[in-house]
């Protein structure tokens, strides 16, 4: 088995070009990278370097202008929007800078979402799924607040719910976009601890989750196995 077939994520010669009012803008210019199972990778760059755009393309949230992304062995450009959604369901986790919890749903219901969206769990009972969601909340220390709604939680607590949601279905890869960007240092630190611990903390017999972290913070980036620097749309 060669190295590329083991990778959970592989990008080849990615280009992203957008038409703006002042002409064509090249945001990404020939980016290639691969992430192996269980590996933690930081994409480090300043504001406007194209790192969030890269994250969007790698996670299949947008289609590149050129090049190819293979996520979990599937070429993303060959899939339509629903196909890409199905690929993500249950196997890709996300943690966003702005938490992105659904305000209408309680903490528990937010964590349940990936389980319910994953067709593999269709046969499982609601009670079983709820048990797993509660377990995930317990792991981030929020078992007591399962019935609370996002507006009843602090910023740090909301991000911990987001982490519980990201890891509840043991995804193959977890994308994190400036996960502490909206939090102060004291609140941010435990979040990072959780993120790394949970990503590495695989159940016996399971492949550990790979973590792809986008940040502008070199210190945070240094905690990853590997750092990829991006500047003006190319990897440095």
């Amino acid at each position: 088995m060669d190295a590329s077939s083991q990778a959970v994520l592989e990008a080849t010669d990615l280009h992203q070009r957008v038409e703006g009012p002042s002409g064509t803008l090249d945001i990404l210019r020939g980016v290639s990278l691969a992430v192996n199972p269980g590996e933690t990778v930081a994409i480090l760059g300043a504001s406007g370097s194209g790192k969030s755009t890269l994250l969007g393309l790698l996670a299949g949230l947008d289609a590149p202008s050129g090049g190819e992304v293979r996520l979990l062995g599937q070429t993303i450009s060959e899939l339509d929007e629903d196909g890409r959604a199905a690929l993500r369901a249950g196997r890709v986790g996300f943690v966003f800078q702005s938490f992105q919890l659904l305000p209408a749903l309680s903490a528990l219901e937010n964590v349940l979402l990936p389980l319910e969206l994953n067709p593999e769990h269709e046969a499982q009972s609601g009670a079983e799924l709820t048990r797993r969601a509660n377990e995930a909340l317990d792991r981030v220390g929020l078992a007591q607040r399962a019935r609370h709604y996002p507006h009843q939680l602090s910023g740090g607590e909301q991000q911990r719910v987001a982490i519980a949601r990201a890891i509840v279905d043991h995804p193959a890869i977890l994308f994190a976009d400036e996960p502490t960007g909206n939090l102060d240092g004291r609140t941010g630190e435990p979040i990072i601890e959780h993120l790394f611990a949970l990503a590495h903390d695989a159940e016996p017999g399971r492949t550990p989750t790979a973590l792809l972290l986008v940040t502008h913070d070199p210190e945070l980036a240094s905690r990853c196995d590997r750092i990829i620097r991006i500047q003006d749309g190319v990897l440095a």
């Binding site: 949230l61 249950g90 996300f94 992105q100 659904l102 209408a104 219901e109 319910e116």
Partner: protein, 835 residues
């Protein structure tokens, strides 16, 4: 500020307004106003036309701008005075008289003698001996007579023949086909013979004791007519009465006014729902303008200036939307006129300008009342927001919003109802109903919460959205309920009520009344009817008497405030006497003692007891043919006036009344195929007047049908206004929905999942609104049946089927159409974070 700066500012403001116009919130606000103004204007234009038509027709119905009725001939002094003041005048006299025809056939007719200038206002129509119809503005020549067709037939006469009126022979020169000022008094039920006023004396029918009604009609400039009225009033004697235009056809006028008022109030329901849509849209508008307003404030604009800029834009949009609404309303009123046009004879005059002013007024008041609270918030946005986006707008004062909305709606109600008390009741009723609906709506939203844990992700997410936006959901729920309720009430409950009403009239309910049956005729007439195959009819004696004293204290119309009671005392009662209580009049108080010899007992109808504040044991004195007859109330009867049977307010003991001058009355069912037989026996009883109630019944049904169809039409606006609330709510939540859809897609949701969640949310909303509307429609239907119409009402399951089915499908579809674009939202949006 110099002129150039002012102009530049204005141009900039207008350009800004044009930019704003592209925003969905202003469009929703405009659409809601268009619906509200269109509803009010459609009704306004139509009622304006009807009012003008009524004014035109009133003079024609009255016979002039002023009419004086008198028991004695009009003094020459009145005629001379009118001539001197430059008024046109006409005299007329009417009296009942039996006419004899070709083979000694006789028929009771109503004679009317008129001056040559009759009719003073409007036109009459006659048919000449050659069958040609003519419109005429003069009366018959001396020596001539015009007869109605029915009278000619009954007498076996033709134009060209001679008819004997009293001691005078007149030549029949035409058939009278339209008499514009024919009154609706009972004496006028007999067919008409018209002759020249100057021939009246030669008939020798005028003498002591003859029942002649004299009329004197005047026409001219308003101020002169008024001055003449002032001159005349002190000269009036008892039995002489002045009638103005407002007295013409009072029943029709009252019915039309009630109907107009109801249509007006119905149109305000659309305004109320549109107001809810405007409030939602305005708050969303304010929310989205918070950043711009904060920058304006940070750069030094005063709160008042920010308010002026944004509220000014809303008002400009309101004016434009109101104009569009007016145009739509103008078109829509043609449909109303087509539905209801035959309330009045003849064509309706074109509408005037009053509804235009009214429509603009409604538009501006609604916009101001419902949008101002949101605009005040935008003016008070803290300038610090430019640095800290988490600082929002100051929260809306519920009290201020409520007070402004109530004030605006109350003002509209007052103006539309033209009666502060009615306006207050409708306002309180509406507020109470909305409060109950709101509470029920909120309770229902809570009640479906447990379902969240039972269904899949779509149901969970849809229901979660409903309960998170609890306030907005309740507003939508109320709006849809009102819209669906309006349709259910008219589409199903109306039909149920009409059917139940039909069913409440027994198959064998009488459809004919005979009145004026002379003493001695009642048995032979009953024999003839029995021979013809009818069941022998019951003949009830009928005695005319005026109530002159209660407990020996004189009473008159002036002793009571209530208009109906005054009218009751102003005319003669129809009294009767009987040994047995009528089968269809249960005695509800006291005992029937009228069959006892020497009894002076009276049995009085329950409503009259209340009206005249009577009690058992009270005495009533009636003046009957110049004699006073006194009796005591021994029992109270309940009368169902809709039963189409013979009913009396007061029935006395035979011992008390059977010596009094009387005629007889009967009610019976005449099969359709016996109409020919009827005219044969009626010919032998010429004094009898036949009244065909089936025609009246038919007319009542027609009016109910027409009026409800018109209300249905007006309620369509209510439904559309309810939909604008939906779209306002959808617009207000559009940004949030987009982000949520993108997030769900990021987490792996397919289009189908999101579509199902939207359908679950709006379908549930529609289901709850339909359920609420069906429950309330059923309660209203039952209350109406029980309290107003007095018959049993059965719950119609179709009310629930249509209410819930229509609500679920309709709202789910409308909601999905309004939000389906969120399905196309690229998941990448989530990376950009919340706005």
């Amino acid at each position: 500020m110099n002129r150039h700066t002012g102009l530049r500012n204005l141009r900039g403001w207008l350009r800004g307004t044009w930019q704003e116009w592209r925003s969905a919130e202003l469009r929703v606000l405009a659409a809601a106003l268009v619906v509200a103004v269109a509803a009010v204007a459609a009704v306004g234009f139509f009622t304006d036309r009807v009012d003008r038509g009524m004014a035109d027709q009133a003079a024609s119905l009255l016979g002039g701008d002023l009419a004086i009725t008198s028991r004695s001939p009009v003094p020459d002094e009145w005629v001379d005075e009118a001539r001197e003041r430059g008024l046109q005048s006409v005299r007329s006299a009417a009296l009942p008289s039996v006419l004899f025809g070709a083979d000694d056939q006789s028929r009771l007719s109503s004679l009317r003698a008129v001056d040559p200038d009759w009719p003073l206002v409007g036109e009459a129509r006659i048919r000449d001996p050659y069958g040609q119809e003519h419109t005429i503005t003069h009366g018959p020549e001396p020596g001539e007579a015009w007869l109605e067709g029915a009278l000619l037939n009954d007498l076996g006469l033709e134009p060209g023949d001679t008819v004997t009126v009293g001691r005078r022979d007149l030549e029949i020169t035409a058939v009278l086909t339209l008499e514009p000022d024919r009154g609706s008094a009972l004496t006028d039920l007999a067919p008409r013979l018209m002759l020249a006023y100057e021939d009246l004396e030669s008939t020798e029918l005028i003498g002591p004791g003859s029942r002649v009604n004299y009329q004197f009609y005047l026409s001219g400039i308003d101020s002169v007519v008024e001055a003449y009225t002032d001159w005349l009033e002190p000269r009036l004697e008892p039995g002489q009465r002045i009638q103005g235009l407002e007295d013409a056809a009072p029943e029709l006028r009252a019915a039309v006014e009630r109907a107009e008022r109801f249509l007006g109030l119905a149109s305000l329901m659309a305004v109320l729902l549109a107001g809810a849509a405007i409030a939602v849209a305005a708050h969303h508008f304010a929310q989205r303008r918070a950043d711009s307003a904060a920058i304006m404030r940070a750069l030094g604009a005063s709160a008042r200036r920010v308010l002026a800029v944004y509220f000014g834009r809303v008002l400009l949009v309101a004016v434009i939307a109101s104009l569009i609404g007016l145009a739509l309303g103008f078109l829509a009123q043609f449909v109303l006129s087509a539905l209801l046009g035959d309330w009045l004879d003849g064509d309706l005059p074109p509408p005037g300008l009053r509804p235009v002013v009214a429509g603009l007024g409604v538009g501006l008041i609604t916009a101001a009342g419902f949008a101002l609270p949101a605009m005040l918030r935008i003016g008070q946005v803290p300038p610090l927001r430019v640095l800290r986006r988490d600082i929002g707008l100051p929260s809306a004062s519920v009290w201020l919003s409520g007070a402004l909305a109530v004030a605006a709606f109350g003002a509209l109600l007052w103006w539309q109802a033209a009666d502060p008390q009615l306006a207050l009741w409708v306002l309180l009723g509406t507020a109470g109903a909305l409060l109950i609906l709101g509470l029920l709506g909120a309770a229902l939203v809570l009640a479906v919460r447990p379902l969240r844990d039972r269904g899949g992700i779509a149901l969970r997410f849809g229901l979660a959205n409903l309960s998170r936006r609890g306030g907005l959901s309740a507003v939508q729920l109320v709006a849809f309920s009102v819209g669906i309720l309006a349709l259910l009430l008219l589409a199903i409950v109306r039909v149920d009520l009409l059917e139940a009403w039909d069913a409440s009239i027994p198959e064998d309910a009488p459809n004919h009344f005979y009145v004026n049956i002379q003493p001695g005729e009642q048995e032979p007439l009953a024999d003839r009817m029995e021979e013809a195959g009818l069941e022998r009819p019951q003949m009830d004696p009928m005695i005319r008497g005026r109530l002159v004293a209660i407990n020996d204290l004189p009473v008159g119309p002036g002793d009571f405030d209530d208009e109906r009671t005054r009218r009751l005392l102003d005319r003669e009662f129809n009294l009767s006497y009987a040994d047995e209580p009528p089968e269809h009049n249960p005695v509800v108080e006291g005992h029937w003692t009228l069959d006892q010899p020497e009894s002076d007992g009276l049995s009085v109808e329950a409503g009259l007891m209340e009206r005249l504040e009577l009690e058992l044991g009270d005495s009533l004195t009636f003046r009957i043919g110049g004699r006073a007859v006194r009796g005591s109330i021994t029992n109270v009867r309940e009368v169902n006036w809709d039963s189409f049977r013979v009913n009396f307010f007061v029935t006395g003991a035979p011992a008390l009344l059977d010596e009094q001058p009387r005629t007889y009355i009967t009610a019976f069912r005449l099969p359709e195929d016996m109409r020919d037989a009827q005219s044969r026996w009626l010919r032998d009883f010429p004094a009898v007047t036949a009244i065909d109630v089936s025609a009246i019944l038919e007319r009542v049904r027609d009016i109910i049908e027409q009026a409800t169809r018109a209300v249905e039409y007006v309620f369509l606006f209510t439904l559309v206004a309810g939909l604008t609330v939906l779209f306002a709510a959808v617009q207000a939540t559009r940004d949030v929905r987009r982000r949520e859809a993108a997030l769900l897609r990021t987490l792996g949701a397919r289009r189908r999942d999101i579509r199902n969640a939207l359908l679950a949310e709006f379908g549930t909303l529609g289901f709850l609104a339909g359920l609420l509307a069906a429950i309330i429609a059923t309660v209203i239907g039952a209350l109406l049946a029980w309290q107003v119409f007095d018959f049993d009402y059965r719950v119609n399951p179709m009310t629930f089927v249509y209410g819930i089915g229509g609500g679920t499908l309709g709202i789910a579809l409308a909601g999905w159409l309004g939000t389906r674009r969120v399905l196309d939202q690229a998941p990448l949006t989530v990376l950009r974070g919340p706005e």
